[in-house]
Amino acid sequence: MYESNGEKYFIVDSHMHYWNAAPDNWVPGHEQYAKGWIECFHAYQGLGPPETHWSIEHFQKYSEDDLLKDVFEDGHVDKAIFQPTYLKEWYKEGFNTTERNGLLGEKHPGKFITNTRFDPRDGDVGLDQLKRDVERWGAKGLKLYTAEWNNGSRGYKLSDPAAYRFLEAAQNLGIKNVHVHKGPTIWPLDKDAFDVSDIDHCATDFPDLNFIVEHVGLPRIEDFCFMATQEPNVYAGLSVVIGGLMHALPHFFAKVMGELLFWVGEDKMTFGSDYGIWEPKWQIEGFVNWEMPDEPAYADYPKLGVAGKKKILGLNAARLYDIDVPKEFQLLDDNSAAAQDDAQLVDDRSQPVAGA
C-alpha cells in the first residue's frame, strides 16, 4: 500500500513478470532473437529515471529476492499479477512461463496471482495444457501475445476460429480476464500487426470475458480507444504508458492519459508496472503525485482526482480479480461498477475511423 497526503492506496500491479533471458536460457541457433528481445526490453527501461536503470546482465536475470524487494518491500505493491510470456522459439525454458511464475508465487502465499496463457496454433495439445495450467495454478486470467512465433508462424489474430475455440474452452474452465498484448508480427505480414480490431470481435462475441488490452494498444492508442469506448468489457492496461512516458515524455504522458480518461474512463484503466522492465516504486509515487497540467492544451481532458487514482492503481483490478480490499482502502461512495461513458460523442452515426 502507498500513503500520501493522508490518502491510502491499495496497489495491484496487474502486469509484471519473473523472467530469465540470460544466455543460459537461449535456444542454440536462435541466440540473436533472444538477445534482440531482451535488449529491446532493456531500451524500454532506458525511458525510466536514470537511477532506476539496471545493467543488462542484471536485467537479463533478476533473482527472487530482487523481485520481492523491488515489488513489495520498496514498491508498495499489495498484490502482483504474473503475466507469462513463453517465446520458447528463443528461450529454452520459456521467457517467463506460468510454471516459473507460479512456483515463485506458491512460496509466498497471498502475494501473487498467477495467470496462464494459450497459443491457438498448439491445437488439442494446447487445449490439454491450458486445462492443466488453469487447474494447477488456479488461474483466473490469461495473457496472450499475438505476435509470438511458433513453428514458422509469426503470429495469429484473436478472431481466428482456432483462437475462438481456446477462448470458449478458457471460459468453461473459469477464466474471467484476458490480457492481450500486440506485437510487430502476425500472419500475413503485409497487414498491420498492431491492429486491435480482432479484440473488438472477441469482446462482442465473449461478453462475459474481460479484455484488458495491455500497453493500451500502443502504438495504436487511437484504434484502441475507438474500440474500447464501444465495448463495455474492454479495459486499458497502463503498463508502458506510465513506465515509458511519465518520466521520459511528460507532456505526451499527460496527453495520452487525457485521451484515455476521455475515451475509456478511470473505471476501466488498470496499473501494471511491467516489472522487470520498470520498478513499480517510482511509477506509483509519480502517478499519485501527477496532475493534469493546468494549461490550455490540456483543457478539454478530464481531470484525475484521488478517487480515480485509487481505482487505477488497485481497485479496478481488484474488482476484476475478486481481490479482497480492506475497508480502509475502499472508496466511501463506490459506484465505479457502472462504467461511465465519457465519450458521449460516440454513437451509431459516427464516421468510419481513419485507417479502420
Binding site: 529491446c40 508480427t185 505480414l189 503485409d190 500502443l218 480507444c225 507532456h251 485521451e259 481513419a354
Partner: protein
C-alpha cells in the same frame, strides 16, 4: 553489424569513399541527404533523417551510393521497415548521377530478407515468401489516412485557439487557412491519397471518402483527429528514446532534436 556513427557528423565519410566536397565530381552528399529527407516512416509520418534512422550515407565519385539505416529495435515491424528501405532505395536511385544504390538495414531480425528483397526489386510478398499475401499499398494508405487526421488537428487547433467557431471550420477551404508547414504537410498527404488538396477543397474532409463531414459528426471527427495526432507523436517520442538508448545516443545523419511540447522536430 553497425558501424559506429560519428555524433553530429553531417559530413562524416567512410575511409576510401569520397564524401561531399567542392572538388569531388559527381553527386554532392547533401543531395543524397535531401533525397533521404523525402523518405518517411509511414507509421510516424516523419522523415527517416530527422528521426535519426539514417546511420550513414555516402556516395563515391563514381556515383555509387550507400545508405545504412537503423531502427529503434531489433523487432520493429518488418512491413514498415521494408517500406522505408524500399523508399530510400527509390529516392537515392532517382538522383541524377547515382549509378548504383545500396540501402542496408542494420541490426534487424529481418535485415537479410529486406535488404535482399529490395536490392532484387522483388517486392514485399515475394521477399517474405509464404508469410505475406500482398504488397503494402493498403498499409501505406491506411497510415496516410491517419496522417491526414493528425494533420487536421495540427491545422485546426490554432484556428480554434484563435477564436474560430468549430462549425465555421466546415465552411473553410484550404486556401482560406493561413499558410504554415502543417498546412503544406496536410495538403501533401491528401494529395498522396488522391484526396482534394487544392485551394478550393474543404479544410475538413472524411479521410476515406474525401467527402464532407456533417455538422453533427464534426465534434467527434475533431476528437479523433486529436487522438490520432497524440498517438503518432507519443509513438515517435518513444521510438526516439529507444533508438537513443540502443545506439548510445549517437546522432543519425540529419537527425533533429524533438521538442516534446509541440511534438514536432525543432525545425518544423
Amino acid at each position: 553489424m553497425t558501424a559506429p556513427v560519428t555524433a553530429g557528423s553531417a559530413r562524416g565519410t567512410a575511409p576510401g569513399v569520397s564524401g561531399f566536397s567542392p572538388e569531388t565530381p559527381g553527386v554532392p552528399r547533401e543531395d543524397l541527404l535531401r533525397a533521404l529527407e523525402t523518405v518517411r516512416d509511414p507509421e510516424l509520418d516523419e522523415p527517416i533523417t530527422s528521426l535519426g534512422f539514417v546511420a550513414a550515407c555516402t556516395v563515391s565519385s563514381d556515383g555509387d551510393a550507400e545508405v545504412r539505416l537503423r531502427l529503434p529495435t531489433y523487432f520493429c515491424a518488418p512491413n514498415f521497415a521494408y517500406l522505408m528501405v524500399a523508399d530510400a532505395y527509390d529516392a537515392v536511385s532517382a538522383l541524377p548521377g547515382v549509378r548504383r544504390a545500396e540501402v542496408v538495414l542494420e541490426d534487424h531480425f529481418a535485415s537479410d530478407v529486406i535488404n535482399g528483397g529490395v536490392a532484387a526489386q522483388a517486392g514485399f510478398a515475394q521477399s517474405f515468401d509464404g508469410e505475406a499475401v500482398g504488397e503494402l499499398h493498403q498499409l501505406r494508405a491506411d497510415f496516410l489516412r491517419k496522417a491526414v487526421m493528425a494533420g487536421t488537428d495540427q491545422v485546426c487547433r490554432p484556428l480554434l485557439a484563435a477564436g474560430q467557431e468549430p462549425a465555421a471550420l466546415l465552411a473553410m477551404t484550404l486556401g482560406e487557412v493561413p499558410p504554415s508547414r502543417a498546412l503544406e504537410r496536410l495538403r501533401q498527404r491528401r494529395a498522396d491519397l488522391g484526396l482534394p488538396a487544392g485551394d478550393d477543397a474543404a479544410l475538413v474532409i472524411d479521410p476515406v471518402t474525401g467527402g464532407p463531414v456533417r455538422p453533427d459528426a464534426l465534434p467527434l471527427h475533431l476528437r479523433k483527429a486529436k487522438i490520432t495526432r497524440v498517438s503518432i507523436e507519443a509513438n515517435a517520442g518513444i521510438c526516439r528514446g529507444m533508438l537513443g538508448h540502443r545506439y548510445n545516443h549517437t546522432q543519425g545523419q540529419g537527425e533533429t532534436v524533438l521538442i516534446e511540447d509541440s511534438g514536432l522536430p525543432a525545425d518544423s
